[in-house]
Symmetry: C2
Subunit: 363 residues, 2 copies
């Protein structure tokens, strides 16, 4: 258990943008929401998965939609808490602990803002161990849990509750509602017991984000470059160094989809790298060959500072290092790959673990 201070929240915002480069356009929207909510409602306690009681009622809160829209349409406090309150009303009990559904951009800090408002703790853990773009891409789904209830709200005070047939319908229906709500919404789904959370939640991921943020923030005083530190900490691999020469983005089906192309420099001179994204980077190719494939995590870092560059924030001319980290073991199972692997996103590759791809490329 620890109380989150302003520095922790700053670090989480920074670190979360490495683990989820799509979530929130500007990762600092989440920071702003969390800090202003704490200022208005009081401090937030973060508890570990071990500290959960088995009969706790744990509820994830997150933003859904295109990050490109969220930047323009910042949620109000009322909107942030309405889906949680609709969930409580529908199930007839109070939420004991909120949690992030994913670690990434704004979605690691929206639940901090809600925790402050409701005076309850936030769980140190999430259901992705990173960020993924679709609602069913959660460890709860991998563990066979159904989203029995989903609640959504928007800034116009529309609130919608869904009892979906299954996780795929949950995603389809809530995505359409998010689109009609103007492209972004606040969502609660997978309300679970502390017991279930202990089985399914990927633990300590807010702390991980906070540590990554801390090492990036301290880079000026560090002897080892923060990118190197980060690769060590997360067992990651450097894939490419270069300059962004083309970024194509469109808002489609409630997502920001697109492709970024980089021209190599130094050891990657004469090479080209392409990243394909749907909110999150999902596939990295160098010279037309895959070098990292979803569910493994791909991130774009500023060459100088190591600071993460979101899919929204990436601009022509940016000098970057593209890195990748192995996904949590839950994602490397058959159902994990079926749920969030390349075929699901219609990329014509079989999933090959990052380590294998890197080894092949070295030979």
């Amino acid at each position: 258990m620890k109380w989150l201070n302003e520095e922790d929240i700053q670090h989480i915002a920074t670190g979360a943008a490495v683990l989820g480069t799509g979530g929130g356009g500007d990762p600092y929207i989440g920071k702003m929401l969390a800090l202003s909510s704490i200022k208005q409602y009081g401090p937030v306690k973060m508890i570990t998965v071990e500290e959960l009681e088995e009969d706790h009622f744990v509820l994830p809160v997150s933003g859904m939609g295109s990050p490109s829209v969220l930047v323009e349409k910042i949620p109000s406090f009322d909107q942030l808490k309405a889906p949680l309150e609709a969930y409580e009303e529908a199930v007839g009990k109070k939420v004991d602990v909120v949690m992030p559904i994913e670690i990434g951009g704004v979605n690691s800090l929206i639940p901090v803002a809600v925790a402050a408002m409701k005076g309850i703790p936030i769980l140190d853990g999430d259901a992705m161990g990173r960020a993924f773009p679709e609602a069913q891409m959660v460890t709860f789904h991998l563990d066979g849990l159904k989203p029995e209830l989903v609640t959504l709200g928007d800034e116009k005070s529309n609130v919608v509750s869904i009892k979906p047939a299954d996780g795929i319908w949950s995603e389809k229906i809530s995505r359409q509602i998010t689109i009609v709500m103007g492209g972004s919404s606040i969502v609660c789904d997978y309300g679970i017991s502390g017991k279930q959370a202990k089985e399914s939640v990927i633990p300590d991921t807010l702390t991980l984000a906070q540590q990554i943020g801390a090492l990036l923030t301290n880079e000026r005083t560090a002897k080892v470059h923060p990118i190197v530190q980060m690769l060590e900490k997360l067992n990651g691999h450097k894939l490419f160094k270069g300059k962004a020469i083309q970024i194509e983005r469109k808002i489609q089906g409630g997502f920001t989809r697109g492709r970024a192309t980089f021209e190599g420099s130094d050891e990657n001179k004469e090479s080209t790298c392409q990243l394909f994204f749907q909110n999150e980077h999902l596939l990295a190719e160098v010279n037309g060959k895959p070098v990292a494939i979803t569910p493994d995590l791909i991130a774009v870092l500023d060459e100088e500072t190591g600071m993460p560059i979101t899919t929204e924030g990436l601009k022509y001319g940016a000098r970057v290092v593209v890195v990748a980290f192995p996904a949590h073991e839950k994602w490397r199972t058959a159902i994990g790959i079926e749920t969030a692997g390349p075929k699901y996103f219609k990329y014509d590759y079989d999933y090959v673990p990052l380590e294998t791809l890197v080894k092949e490329a070295d030979q």
Copy 2:
């Protein structure tokens, strides 16, 4: 109070297709659902608006979406009752009386099927006095009531509850959900007290549909042509006699939209009539001039038998009489015209009452 028998239901199905020519593609889907539900669950009692008690809880049930889809995707009993049960659960009380939201095609008889299933009466009245294509086009809206709660269900067992910001958002959100549900859904909205129903409901419209159905069914023995009888009964006007020569239809935004063109015969020889529809016929032009404009009711009848031809059922070569009937006085107010008049549907006319247009055409 009366118990609905099989003949009543046949007549309602037929008559309702005059008052709402879009609702349900084949108006007999409603009949089939009502009759099979009564067979399985028992008879249905119809009560008048006067017989309602002030503290009764009255709930409309209807089908939403494109009639073209409903024909292909007939709802199950479970789907028909799920939105009502979700509504009961959300408000914490049992429904005493169901009612049709509109008189038209399938939507006058879906509530009969649900009434049989739940063993409760159906109200003889509706919230349109005809059929309109959008959810906010109801007398409740004209009387300033908000749809506090909307519930929707589909055949895959998805159930969605909406607390909309207002009637327009109710329509927008439920329309999108209906589209993602595959193009049609079952909906409950505007759950009201008996007291409110007495103020807002247009009374006796199921009986009206039944009487129209009866006179159409008895046409072979009648001395006066059923079209003439119907025009008298509803203060209607014959607009055009001719043959369908072109029908354009597309499923768009969750509606069937299109245009039907007729070439005149007999007294209309050398003339052309065009009907513009969005599920319902909304505008009739003869030789490019408007002769009937929404919210007044436009219907297409078989020249021989007077039987209504739905927007779905209209085929090339059909020999028809186009008729129109004045809307209920609630629709001819400023808010009525704003809600369901020509400008709302983007037709570039001011609303002119049917009687005036007919008088002008005669001069």
